[in-house]
């Protein structure tokens, strides 16, 4: 296992004792290195944990990092750390998938893809902290934008959004079309 510098051990220890996700800037500040270097070290640490099949993984969301248990051992850990989670309905899973793949996105975008009113499922996802408001879109009505959370990554055993299963290729084409259409018509009913 190779380390670009001696910061790996420090970062691992720091994230171990942190009781909340830390931002890259905070970590760089505590490590006494430039942000760019901290980012590289964090990426290296994440790869090491993954490649060596260790019991921990480094989760990354937006600009924040947290150390979590590896998904491989999650099922066995559940006996100790059990969180009884009610299963999500098909409708809630669909809405969650749209937010996960399209984030940040508005409620009306979720409804356009699903073809059906999604107010209730969005609220239930917010309540379960699987999604949060991440801001407002700068279009008429300033609709609320939603994005997924660390809770989402933890529940589905993902280290980052890049870990999401890829959409099928037709979907990629359709997504590109949709993006083009959105850019052409910025209006949003949200």
């Amino acid at each position: 296992m190779t380390r670009p510098d001696d910061n790996g051990a420090f970062l691992e220890a720091l994230l171990f004792i942190a009781e909340r996700p830390l931002s890259t800037a905070e970590i760089a500040d505590l490590a006494g290195v430039p942000t760019v270097q901290a980012e590289a070290s964090l990426a290296a640490l994440g790869e090491d944990l993954d490649e060596d099949g260790r019991g921990l993984r480094l989760q990354h969301l937006d600009d924040a990092w947290q150390l979590v248990t590896a998904p491989e051992v999650g099922a066995r850990l559940a006996a100790y750390a059990a969180r009884e989670e009610a299963r999500l309905s098909t409708a809630a899973m669909e809405a969650l998938a749209v937010v996960a793949y399209r984030q940040p996105c508005t409620r009306s975008e979720v409804e356009r893809v699903r073809g059906v009113d999604s107010d209730y499922v969005i609220r239930s996802l917010l309540h379960r902290r699987l999604i949060v408001e991440t801001g407002r879109r700068d279009t008429p009505g300033r609709p609320i934008l939603f994005g997924t959370t660390f809770t989402f990554l933890e529940r589905f055993g993902l280290t980052s959004l890049e870990d999401l299963p890829p959409l099928s290729s037709e979907a990629a084409a359709a997504t590109a079309l949709a993006t083009m259409a959105e850019q052409g018509d910025a209006g949003d009913g949200g």
Partner: protein
């Protein structure tokens, strides 16, 4: 095409005991349409969507959806029926009406289906992983909380705190809410009695037409109800939105 009226309310058979479990619930109109295409082993990329109109409408007729989602299901039904009607009618398709966004377009609907399918499949894959391989983070424990000061506090602090508490004045009660009273039920009861004085009855709408404000209209209706409650009048309306006849009864008639 045989178009049955779509039931608005789920029909409950007389023999039904309490509730009925519906297993093949679709999460939306696109889910249903895609299911109909896939269950016939047709390709969503090539199938003429107009051909799905009958199956979609038939399914909708026999499997009522929740009233809250009915509009979304019917919207897709309407698009399919229009696509089908265009195929059935010979000749050039009619020109788009000013290119409105509501104009259903087969390519657009197909694109939505493809997009929906991808996200539905991703949702299914994610659902399969739901809680199967979770990650756990470190929960903050009590030792993470800042420790309380360990030095004993001087009892004098408590006495001082009590003094400060005594010095805090009583909160000033908020001023009572002032509502402008422009018209009262009693006033409108009097107005209704006056209106009924001659023939012993009056059409409520005539009284309402003379009202100056929305509040007065509301209070007049309340006054009418009050008269009914006091058994001074009866109210009759023969048809929906028809005239409401207020008729005085008993000795009230004499006044």
């Amino acid at each position: 095409m045989n178009l049955q009226p779509i039931p608005i309310e789920p029909e409950v058979a007389p023999a039904a005991t309490g509730f009925e479990l519906q297993l093949d619930v679709f999460s939306g109109p696109l889910d249903l349409l895609l299911h109909l295409i896939e269950s016939r082993q047709l390709d969503v990329l090539t199938v003429p969507l107009a051909e799905m109109a009958d199956a979609y409408v038939t399914h909708l007729t026999s499997h009522p959806v929740a009233p809250a989602q009915l509009a979304d299901f019917v919207a897709i039904a309407a698009q399919l029926i229009l696509l089908k009607s265009r195929r059935v009618l010979p000749g050039e398709p009619p020109p788009a009406l000013g290119g409105t966004e509501d104009e259903p377009d087969e390519d657009e609907l197909r694109r939505r289906l493809i997009e929906y399918r991808a996200l539905r499949d991703a949702a299914r894959e994610l659902a399969g992983r739901d809680g199967e391989r979770p990650s756990f983070r470190r929960e903050p424990r009590e030792s993470d909380l800042p420790e309380a000061p360990t030095d004993p506090l001087p009892p004098a602090l408590l006495a001082e705190a009590l003094d400060r508490l005594a010095a805090i004045p009583e909160p000033v009660p908020p001023p009572p809410e002032v509502v402008k009273r422009e018209v009262t039920i009693a006033m409108q009861i009097a107005a209704l009695r006056t209106a009924m004085a001659g023939r012993g009855r009056v059409v409520l709408q005539q009284v309402l037409a003379a009202c100056q404000s929305r509040t007065q209209v509301t209070v007049t209706v309340l006054a009418m109800l009050e008269l009914v409650r006091r058994r001074e009048a009866t109210v009759q309306q023969d048809e929906l939105f028809g005239p409401i006849l207020v008729e005085a009864i008993g000795e009230a008639r004499v006044t």
